[in-house]
């Protein structure tokens, strides 16, 4: 690929905007800083459009590759490239960043420049994670994302933010350090940090098992899978709205992405042998966490638990080893990015007005905020997997894929449609319908133009993906088929 190094630009442009913001100084210039942030986010998104437009969906090769020797002494290269699996995440990430900037426009009042700088830098680093083809480069971006997120939760978060921030950081660091050891072991075996070289590296089954668990810690914490999920509700609840959105929409996808990029192709035999374990953990996430979600009294916590259940679907899809499962899981990842982001934004809209997240403090919101109620209805439906929304497509594909493997897996997975509807709609009913709970609710203002724009954009995305998912799935077909062929071949 000749021409501009688009991937590098998509990584470094937001980071550069973040640095500029940091240099602009204190809150006295907040209004200018907001516009700079918006410009950065839009510029970041604009870069990903030619990536999508120029992407060739017929091949599973890495596209837009960039290669630069970075640390020859350590065999580490600056190697970027995207395939059908990673393509969509760059789009999603850059899109969500714009929404976060707009959503925080009037809400964030202290240390505005730092707030937006953290999000823009985070956005650039996330693009880096999704396009890195060198394991150390991947690791660097993967870890570096912790720093801005730590700061976002810690500075702009809720009352218990310090605990949540530390828990978030240490949990993820624990997982990724073990992953690092696994990377070093792979390097020692192959003499290279190139991920694509590792895909071809023959490994005995014993080594594959050990590596599988090393990587599993890194990715499972990030997904998060049951039983290492406990950091997520805390982090989500305490994070500011923007933080929750990016956490749910993008950061959780890093772990799942790690499974497709590393675990499945590098350790196909261990993945097949241990699929029972992964499927079991995923089903526990779907069923058990689905039940836990029902009883939450805090809206953010509820959505956080529902995220875990939905991510259980993603990991389930990966370890079914058929095209429906893997593609369904990928679609589910994108769709969950839209829906969970939208749900957190909805809670954010209410929180900005009443400063409470507890379901019990609300009731009858539809009377004072009809337009908001309509949007939230759509997103709650999508969250429970209603057909014609994006939530349905992914879940349905994964259930179909599960059916090809075993009826009972499909049966248990399908319970999510019941639980999802139960927790989403029950929450919706308690918050939006019923008699007006108190005077504060009666006095609520409906959506302003800015909030309307953000939710409308997400609503369009959710419906479009639900009605016509082909543009999303077409991109990934070739790569997923290639992945499945690769996984089917024993490596030893």
């Amino acid at each position: 690929m000749n021409g501009l190094p688009l991937l590098s630009i998509s990584i470094w442009l937001p980071i550069a905007f973040g640095l500029i913001l940091l240099a602009t100084g204190g809150d006295s210039r907040a209004s200018v800083q907001r516009w700079i942030a918006l410009a950065g986010a839009i510029a970041g998104f604009a870069v990903t459009i030619p990536l999508y437009a120029g992407f060739d969906g017929q091949t599973s090769e890495m596209q837009f590759s960039e290669f630069q020797r970075w640390m020859p002494g350590l065999d580490i290269n600056y190697h970027l490239g995207i395939d059908g699996i990673s393509m969509l995440f760059l789009l999603l990430n850059s899109f969500i960043t714009i929404l976060i900037v707009v959503a925080g426009w009037t809400v964030v009042e202290k240390r505005v420049a730092q707030y937006y700088a953290a999000f823009l830098m985070l956005s650039g680093m996330l693009n880096g994670v999704f396009s890195a083809l060198d394991a150390v480069l991947f690791y660097v971006f993967f870890e570096a994302t912790l720093i801005p997120m730590f700061i976002i939760i810690g500075i702009w978060g809720g009352p218990n933010r310090v605990y949540a921030a530390l828990k978030f950081f240490l949990y993820t660091l624990f997982g990724s350090l073990l992953m690092l050891v696994a990377f070093l072991y792979l390097y020692n075996k192959s003499g290279s940090f190139e991920i694509l070289d590792w895909h071809r590296l023959p490994l005995p089954l014993g080594a594959q098992f050990a590596l599988f668990f090393g990587l599993l810690f890194g990715f499972a914490v990030k997904v998060p899978m049951w039983p290492v999920h406990t950091w997520l509700p805390d982090a989500h609840t305490e994070a500011p709205t923007g933080g929750s959105v990016v956490l749910a929409a993008i950061l959780l996808k890093l772990g799942a992405y790690g499974f497709v990029r590393f675990t499945l192709p590098i350790l196909p035999d261990a993945s097949r042998e241990l699929a029972w374990l992964m499927v079991s953990l995923s089903l526990i996430a779907v069923v058990y966490v689905g039940l836990v979600t029902l009883v939450q009294a805090d809206m953010k916590r509820l959505i956080a638990y529902s995220s875990i259940a939905h991510m259980g679907f993603v990991t389930l899809g990966f370890f079914l080893f058929n095209a429906l499962g893997v593609e369904g899981a990928l679609v589910q990842m994108i769709s969950h990015g839209f829906i969970s982001g939208a749900m957190f934004l909805c809670v954010g809209v209410m929180y900005d007005r009443l400063h409470t997240r507890m379901i019990a403090d609300y009731g009858g919101v539809v009377n004072s905020m009809p337009r908001f109620a309509a949007f939230m209805m759509l997103f709650a439906m999508a969250n429970s997997g209603l057909p014609a929304t994006s939530g349905f497509v992914g879940e349905f594909m994964v259930i179909m894929g599960a059916m090809q493997v075993s009826f009972w897996i499909a049966f248990l997975a399908a319970t999510t449609l019941i639980f999802g509807a139960a927790y989403s709609l029950w929450m919706y009913k308690r918050v939006i319908f019923g008699p007006v709970a108190n005077d504060a609710v009666r006095g609520l203002r409906d959506l302003n133009a800015r909030e309307f724009l953000v939710l409308a954009l997400l609503a369009v995305a959710v419906l479009y993906m639900g009605i016509y998912p082909a543009p999303f799935t077409d991109v990934m077909h070739a790569s997923v088929d290639d992945l499945l062929r690769h996984v089917a071949r024993p490596k030893w």
């Binding site: 940091l22 970075w70 640390m71 020859p72 002494g73 350590l74 240390r111 730092q114 150390v136 690791y139 660097v140 870890e143 570096a144 912790l146 720093i147 730590f150 700061i151 810690g154 500075i155 933010r161 310090v162 921030a165 530390l166 950081f169 240490l170 660091l173 624990f174 350090l177 073990l178 690092l180 050891v181 070093l184 072991y185 390097y187 020692n188």
Partner: protein
């Protein structure tokens, strides 16, 4: 032996010795408390040393070791680059500590002179090719450090720390000498290169090996004391806390380079054939240090003490690098292992300079920045310095993209290559524990409200240098290759 020895390789040392003596005399006529003239002269001396080191050692076509003074003294790339790093560390120390010392009436000529003599000790240690030279350099360095710790003679804490340091240091020197005498007894020579040959012959012979290993244990103990690793770490927290922060900076930074050089000279240059034995010892010391250092640091409320325990854990990491050189009797991994350890030490010194530099910057007349609470809300008072400190803390914690990550990565890579996966996992888990207390500092700076008010005031030179120092950690994190290449070349030329 009637002919003149070749003075050329030792020019930097000779220059430093004579000019420090001159400096001592010049300082007698100092009129103000600021000692502007001595201070500037010290910088010029350091610059001269750097030039001479470059001219004598680094600006050569074929990097071969040059021996002189009847093989007592060696000049090679490793000593050259380590000396360069030491000059930078000492010059930075001078800048950082200046205002602090002036504010407390400690800016005496002795500080600068002792600092330069300590540097001379380090340089001799780095270039030592004889057990005697090692001892000479070590004692010169140590005695200067004891005196520096006691510099603040009215402070009970400083005096106590100096006493402790001296007594324990003397004990360690005694052990080192004892070990040296054993090695001498077994090999019949004091010259390190000669010891290496004779040990190679003796190592196969089981009878004499006992004596060698017996001596080796004491040598390792002496080195461990100097690096401050468990179980020879007792002095570190007390001395770090008791000494004036400027002096802590002196002790915590450049001498680590010298201690690393000493380990390289004695263990790698001299006793490589006993690597099987000392690698085991170093691994144990490394794991103990990482465990104790990281876990104990969590309980500290005094910043200097916390950084002391952090030092212990970092030195454990360095030992981990040294312990991965010989694998199954071959030395394929040695270059990587020793150069990654050297990289780690250099990065560590740079990070320490920045962290203590920040403490000095935040300390003003009558205000010590010592306890963790003093950093509270720094982001509100001085966002830029909070950002620099953030980089420093993430570098210490080993989070990319700060330089500390690559240092840890390089060491872990050689540890895994040496087949020591268990050690690597242990190192990683203890780093995780370590991350907690570095994060706590970030938390204090960013999430808590300031308990003190008012902006941070400091001289421009200090502000610039601290910023450069912090940004260097970031720059070396993004582009570590040049420094890495220097370390690799240095080790290759041994």
């Amino acid at each position: 032996m009637s002919q003149m020895p070749n003075f050329f390789p030792a020019l930097p040392e000779i220059f430093l010795l004579t000019s420090t003596c001159v400096l001592m005399i010049v300082d007698l006529s100092a009129k103000t408390i600021r000692r502007q003239r001595t201070y500037v002269l010290a910088h010029i001396v350091l610059l001269g040393c750097a030039f001479l080191t470059y001219y004598t050692t680094l600006d050569v076509v074929s990097p071969r070791p040059i021996y002189t003074f009847s093989d007592l003294f060696v000049n090679d790339l490793m000593s050259g680059w380590l000396k360069m790093a030491a000059y930078i560390a000492v010059a930075t120390t001078l800048v950082y500590s200046r205002q602090y010392l002036i504010d407390r009436g400690l800016m005496r000529g002795e500080f600068i002179v002792l600092l330069l003599f300590a540097l001379l000790g380090m340089m001799i240690l780095m270039s030592a090719n004889s057990l005697l030279t090692v001892y000479l350099g070590l004692e010169l360095l140590s005695l200067c450090q004891y005196a520096l710790v006691a510099l603040n003679r009215d402070s009970a804490a400083s005096t106590e720390a100096a006493m402790k340091y001296f007594v324990l240091g003397a004990l360690a020197s005694g052990m080192l000498l004892y070990g040296m005498s054993m090695i001498y007894g077994a090999t019949g020579t004091l010259t390190i290169t000669e010891i290496s040959h004779r040990v190679g012959v003796l190592a196969g012979n089981t009878g004499d090996r006992t004596l060698l290993v017996f001596g080796l244990v004491f040598l390792v103990a002496g080195i461990a004391f100097k690096l401050g690793v468990v179980p020879f770490h007792m002095w570190v927290p007390d001395v770090y806390q008791g000494a004036a922060t400027a002096v802590t900076l002196v002790i915590a930074s450049a001498p680590k380079l010298a201690a690393f050089a000493m380990a390289m000279r004695l263990l790698v240059n001299g006793l490589l054939d006993l690597a099987v034995d000392w690698q085991q010892m170093l691994s144990i010391l490394a794991v103990l240090s990482m465990a104790l250092g990281n876990i104990t640091a969590i309980a500290q409320t005094n910043l200097k003490r916390m950084l002391a325990y952090s030092t212990i854990s970092h030195m454990g990491f360095v030992l981990l690098g040294l312990a991965g050189g010989m694998v199954n009797g071959n030395l394929l991994n040695a270059g990587d292992a020793y150069s990654s350890a050297m990289f780690y030490v250099v990065i560590y010194v740079l990070t320490t300079l920045a962290s203590f530099g920040m403490l000095l910057l935040l300390s003003r007349a009558g205000v010590e920045c010592e306890s963790l609470d003093d950093l509270k809300g720094l982001n509100q008072r001085a966002p830029w310095f909070a950002l620099i400190m953030l980089i420093v803390m993430f570098s210490l914690a080993g989070v990319p993209p700060a330089a500390g990550f690559y240092a840890k990565l390089a060491i872990l890579k050689t540890t895994v290559a040496a087949g020591q996966i268990g050690l690597a996992v242990a190192a990683v888990l203890f780093s995780l524990i370590g991350a907690f207390y570095y994060l706590r500092i970030v938390k204090l700076m960013y999430f808590d409200d300031a308990s003190k008010s008012g902006p941070v005031t400091a001289h421009a030179d200090m502000r610039v240098l601290v910023s450069v120092n912090g940004l260097a950690l970031l720059a070396l994190g993004i582009l570590p290759q040049s420094l890495m290449a220097l370390c690799v070349a240095s080790i290759k030329a041994l």
